[in-house]
């Protein structure tokens, strides 16, 4: 059972925008998350991305940084 899907979801969103240059992809994903995610989902993403450390997709890490939570 997956009880913390925030990281997977962020990856899923990113996958839709891989065709964009990295900066734009990061902005688009961060903006999507700002528009649609409850703050506790964002907190969960931060926590999961942090604990994944180097295993976290670098662009997802940049999204997390850009969200500034």
């Amino acid at each position: 059972m997956i009880t913390a899907p925030a990281l997977r979801l962020a990856g899923d969103i990113l996958a839709q925008f891989r065709h964009l240059p990295d900066d734009q992809a990061v902005d688009t994903v961060a903006n999507h998350i700002r528009m649609f995610w409850d703050p506790r989902m964002r907190a969960q993403l931060l926590e999961l991305a942090t604990s994944a450390g180097a295993d976290c997709d670098p662009l997802v890490s940049r999204v997390v940084t850009s969200l500034g939570d």
Binding site: T3, P5, Q16, W37, D38
Partner: protein, 935 residues
């Protein structure tokens, strides 16, 4: 026939724009459009020519010879139903000659008809009986000697109506209704002359035949030969109330016909914008659930879900909820509670729930069951067109030349719309079906799809990209439209032209021959009017939103937007999916799809509501479940929705709901979710509701109560009372005030009020100063967002793939006689058509596993297992299995995963990797136990 029938004008109206002509009928001058029959013109002038085989819902047939008239200067006595009016014509409908002719025709009919008019069920409602009086044979006693049909057996196989051939006059109205209106062609007139009689399919009973029990033939029958069982048992109704069907997103208008508070029958309303006099088996007949013995009428509470329910009064229940919710917030924070709205309740009932959450709970934790069906529609159409709704009215399909049906099964899911579509297809429109399963539309009487593209589940985006690739690379783009109306085309065109999107590459992924993809794309792009209709087979995927945008791209590239006959049209599942979304049920949007982060919008609401609104989005349903498990979400109010059955990965849902401190369920029945609830608040059926539903074409229809709430409280009052008990002032005298508040706050609803709906019948939003009577077609001059935006739609394959362990892909759908999780339809005789969910499996997959037709099989996915009966079917390609989800025991969602659409979290119901094995190996799961308890 109907008791309160609108004046039957005998034949249908000709084209509205036909030039006028003037004639004289019985000395009265009448002006009508060219193409009008003499019968219709006479009726419009107040002269009803006697008729039996004619009715204005069917094309004229000219068989009964009762409607004869004389035309000055003309020869003979032509049938007025088949004679078109001519300018300057002089018609006499009452001459000695025609009176005599009519009498002898009538005598012939009556000679073979039962004489028990006084005891026959439709007394006062039989056209034959009325006509006997009109033509001057009121006391006729007919010779019964000789050959007649009076000993033919009655067919009472259908649970809702009976066919008594002894009363049949072979007028063929039923046969024509079944063909012309319903499009099923189940009936024929067998034999000739005196021996002719109505027959269902090949001499079968109605139940065994192709008949889908839509009731069109019953409505068309002028005698009691085809009669509703309720009328036979209870007699004719004495009053009528106009209202709206509570089942699917077609939103058919009905006259509910009653005796006192007892509903006798539902008669589809000819003036209903969505259905124009037609209906399906659910809306017309399956209303018995509203008075089913399982219905709960009292509020109940219990401390723990293992305790017995305690019946309490409303005040106790409301205060219990309010206190518990407040306590949870005190202990765990403002965001620890939330609510879910229902697409089965009225706009007004939904509005007050989201207002309760936003204003009394003080957060945005409100979501709707549309999350699990059409949330990608909202997202995808908003991104591209600027409005989260379908572009057309249903009538528009009558002007379509190429119809593309994607991931929808209209004949089962949206039957009345399907009948309209089938009519257009019989007139010659071309059809493309994109669906893994060979749905009925692919080949049915008088209809054959030009192309069926049976793509592998989960490859929609690859398919839509390939279609668009053909349009762009073969020069089929409507440049004038794109240049004038759209933006971001060039980037998109470059993306879509890349060889990786060619049909030849897509063939590898989708399994559909490249040539078929090319041909289908050409057909759509080159048709004068190309229209796309789609359903949950589009949205319930990990790329549901991408696919919606892909279809919007296709429509924009070919200029198929902004007029009749074209468009991108979601077929919504439940009756008020559109409305529940419009009413601000999503956690990021206020009513009218305005984002909570928009300061100006919030200010308008804050001023009227007298409270602060949180500017950040709240939890979506799947986030609520996740947050319940991590302990940050503890109180949930569920309005009329069975999330334990309808949401994916059932064991996850059960675990989440069980971990709540307070689960409040408001419903008609103790459904699966209620098994886990602490408070049960009884809801009202559509017969008690007062409000509005908004159908898939944005049409706002009134739902009018035919009786007082059996629970003692209107459903819209419940959230108001809870809010009040939590300290937030929220009250209305009646639901029209709620609609007035919606209109004040929502620009697209500005012109909507109960008074306007009562005056116009219905309106399609936007309804405002610019469009006071509503908007049937959207994006006519400009898109709602200004320019239509092309969106790049990269195909990202789902992670849910067939593996060695789970080698088959399960996909889900629905069936005509049942509705959603079946809570209503399972409690009606509709179970005669579908008594259990079954698994359709291809013969080769079955053989490999030793499965025979009718075997019980176990379906296992990575999340769970369930048992269904297998039916061998060649409707799906090998490797794909299919089921419906109408029964809790089959627990189709036990096996679905928690994959979801990237943008909206709409679950990926349509793709689950499974293994199917013969026999039952089911263990006692929560689901099974709860289902057993529910029984």
């Amino acid at each position: 026939m109907t008791l309160y029938a609108d004046h039957d004008l005998g034949t249908p109206a000709p084209a509205q724009d036909a030039p006028p002509l003037t004639l004289e009928i019985d000395g009265v001058s009448v002006t009508v459009p060219q193409g009008t029959s003499v019968m219709r013109a006479a009726a419009l002038a107040g002269i009803d020519v006697p008729k039996l085989c004619a009715t204005d819902s069917l094309d004229a047939f000219g068989s009964c010879r009762l409607c004869l008239v004389e035309v000055e200067g003309g020869r003979g006595t032509p049938a007025s139903c088949t004679t078109p009016c001519a300018d300057g014509m002089k018609v006499n409908t009452r001459t000695d000659k025609v009176d005599k002719l009519r009498q002898s025709v009538m005598e012939l009919y009556l000679s073979d008809h039962p004489t028990d008019c006084q005891t026959c069920s439709p007394t006062g409602g039989c056209e034959l009986q009325d006509l006997a009086t009109t033509v001057g044979l009121p006391d006729m006693r007919y010779g019964l000697e000789g050959i007649n049909h009076l000993n033919l057996p009655v067919d009472d196989s259908n649970p809702y109506f009976t066919f008594d051939p002894t009363s049949c006059i072979s007028c063929s109205r039923c046969v024509r209704a079944c063909g012309e209106i319903q499009g099923t062609f189940a009936l024929t007139i067998e034999g000739r002359g005196f021996d002719s009689k109505v027959s269902a399919s090949a001499g079968e009973t109605f139940l065994e035949s192709e008949c889908v029990s839509c009731g069109a033939c019953v409505a068309a029958c002028p005698t009691s030969a085809l009669q509703e069982n309720s009328v036979i048992e209870l007699g004719l109704p004495t009053r009528t109330v106009k209202t709206t069907c509570a089942y699917c997103g077609v939103g058919c208008s009905f006259n509910a016909e009653l005796q006192g508070d007892e509903l006798i029958r539902m008669v589809p309303d000819k003036t209903g914008g969505a259905n124009e006099g037609h209906a399906c088996v659910k809306g017309r007949f399956a209303y018995g659930y509203a008075s089913h013995e399982d219905r709960q009428l009292n509020p109940m509470i219990r401390e723990r879900i293992t305790d017995d329910w305690q019946v309490v009064d409303w005040d106790t229940a409301i205060n219990y909820v309010a206190q518990k919710m407040k306590t949870i917030q005190t202990e765990h924070g403002v965001g620890a509670i939330g609510g879910i709205t229902s697409s089965r309740t009225t706009n007004e009932e939904v509005y007050v729930v989201q207002k309760m959450v936003r204003a009394a709970f003080g957060n945005n934790n409100v979501d709707t069951c549309a999350r699990v069906c059409h949330s990608p529609t909202g997202y995808g159409l908003k991104q591209t067109f600027g409005e989260s709704a379908g572009t057309q009215d249903f009538r528009s399909v009558a002007k379509a030349d190429a119809i593309v049906v994607i991931g929808a099964n209209p004949t089962d899911g949206h039957p009345v719309f399907a009948s309209r579509m089938k009519r257009r297809l019989r007139e010659g429109a071309q059809l493309v079906v994109i669906d893994p399963r060979r749905i009925d539309l692919v080949r049915s009487p008088h209809i054959e799809a030009a192309y069926h593209l049976p793509l592998a589940p989960g490859t929609n985006v690859a398919m839509v990209n390939a279609l668009a690739h053909v349009v762009v690379t073969e020069g089929l783009v409507d440049r004038a439209f794109v240049d004038a109306r759209c933006e971001d085309f060039d980037g998109w065109a470059e993306f879509i032209s890349s060889p990786e999107h060619s049909p030849e590459v897509a063939q590898e992924v989708t399994g559909v021959p490249a040539e078929d993809i090319r041909a289908a794309a050409r057909l759509y792009a080159t048709a004068e009017n190309g229209a796309i209709y789609y359903g949950l087979g589009v949205t319930e995927h990990s790329q549901g939103s991408t696919m919606v945008m892909g279809m919007a791209n296709l429509a924009m590239a070919t200029g198929n937007i902004g007029r009749e006959g074209v468009g991108v049209n979601p077929l919504r599942g439940q009756n008020n999916v559109q409305g529940s979304c419009d009413m601000g049920s999503f956690p990021h949007e206020l009513p009218g799809y305005r984002h909570v982060s928009d300061d100006a919008v919030r200010e308008v609401f804050e001023k009227l509501w007298g409270t602060r609104i949180t500017p950040t989005p709240g939890l979506r349903i799947p986030n609520m479940f996740d947050s319940a498990l991590d302990g940050s979400f503890r109180g949930l109010y569920v309005q009329g929705e069975d999330i334990a059955q309808s949401d994916p990965n059932t064991s996850h849902v059960y675990a989440s709901l069980k971990s709540l401190d307070l689960l409040v369920v408001q419903d008609l029945f103790l459904n699966e979710t209620a098994q886990l609830a602490h408070v049960f608040l009884p809801g009202t059926s559509f017969l008690e509701k007062d409000g509005t539903f908004t159908n898939a074409e944005r049409r706002i229809n009134r739902v009018r109560p035919v009786m007082a709430p059996a629970t003692g409280k209107h459903e819209w009052q419940i959230p108001c009372d809870i809010a009040q008990a939590m300290g937030y002032d929220m009250s209305y005298d009646d639901p029209s005030q709620i609609m007035d508040e919606i209109a004040t706050l929502t620009p697209t609803f500005k012109g909507v009020s109960f008074a306007r709906l009562d005056a116009l019948g219905s309106v399609q939003w936007p309804c405002n100063d610019e469009a006071p009577e509503g908007t049937p077609t959207m994006h006519v001059e400009d898109f709602t967002r200004g320019k239509g935006r092309f969106m790049v739609t990269t195909f990202v394959p789902t992670t849910e793939r067939a593996t060695r362990k789970f080698p088959l892909i399960l996909t889900t759908g629905r069936i005509l006689s049942q509705y959603n999780v079946g809570a209503q339809t399972r409690r009606t005789p509709n179970v005669m058509w579908h008594a259990e969910d079954i698994l359709e499996i291809h013969a080769s997959d079955a053989e490999m596993r030793g499965i025979h037709d009718g075997d019980e099989v176990t379906i296992t996915s990575r999340t769970g297992e369930t048992v269904l009966r297998a039916v061998i079917s060649d409707r799906m390609p090998p490797g794909v299995v299919y089921t419906t989800f109408h029964y809790p025991l089959s627990g189709a969602n036990v096996v679905t995963t928690d994959n979801s659409d990237w943008a909206t979290n709409c679950p990926e119901y349509k793709v689950t990797a499974v293994q199917v094995t013969v026999g039952t190996g089911l263990h006692d799961t929560d689901v099974e136990l709860a289902a057993r308890a529910a029984r």
